[in-house]
Subunit: 145 residues, 2 copies
């Protein structure tokens, strides 16, 4: 049995984050010691590692919740998990494309900055006038990796 600190260290998840995951129902409520401290099993560590890894890959907690409930039911079809992963991939691809455009625009901005006074600053000028842009950078539908 692991204390919350050990669990966090093992899964590289901060302690308050673990408590938060419990609070929102992503982790089951942990057993408690005589002194009311949380105690975790190896299974809890696996589950937390799963969450952490999925977060690293950019899945939302909502998506992770779905993936977890799928994985709790090993005889189900794989299609649900596949769909979630494909959706995530599509979103990543969208964001990649957009970030590519942003990068191009920012580079143009920065390269053209002659380092003089604000009055002639290319950065400020470009920001003030979208028509000076070459690429079609546009807002993302959503965000946060």
């Amino acid at each position: 049995m692991l204390t919350i600190g050990k669990l966090g260290a093992a899964a590289r998840v901060k302690v308050p984050t673990i408590r938060y995951y419990e609070q929102i129902g992503l982790l089951l409520e942990a057993e408690r010691s005589a002194g009311n401290q949380r105690l975790y099993s190896r299974a809890a560590l696996d589950r937390l590692a799963f969450i952490r890894h999925a977060r690293d890959l950019g899945f939302s907690l909502e998506a992770i919740r779905d993936l977890l409930s799928l994985s709790d039911d090993p005889d189900q079809s794989c299609a649900g998990a596949d769909a979630i992963a494909r959706a995530q991939l599509a979103e990543v691809e969208t964001r990649l494309a957009r970030l590519g455009a942003l990068k191009a625009e920012l580079e143009r901005m920065v390269v053209q900055c002659a380092g003089g006074r604000i009055a002639n600053c290319r950065v400020i000028e470009v920001l003030g006038d979208h028509s000076l842009c070459t690429t079609d950078h546009h807002p993302e539908g959503k965000a946060t990796p």
Copy 2:
């Protein structure tokens, strides 16, 4: 003079967002009509368009606040604006690299999913075991475009 709705339409910024920007001091408090409705000048539209464009390029409101105060002082050196833009570029580059790794990993996951049952699902399996990853995808320092 524009009402808030016209201003929003002109700059493609939602009305509550404009009020929010005013609330946090990014836009000056607007003049008011006899009936207490906000009225905006052409200059306010320019400023809002600047903000919107910078947001599109991923600048934080904090960075935009700095850029605006720089642009309010046209005789200053350009270095500050240049530094902010370069920092933004660096962040975009970091995120691009990371998203590239994520994409590779997600593609691997999705391609290997045979479409069977959860018990054999490659997606679930990879999420549960980081050592199955090939690329070095890791958490971003920060986020939100």
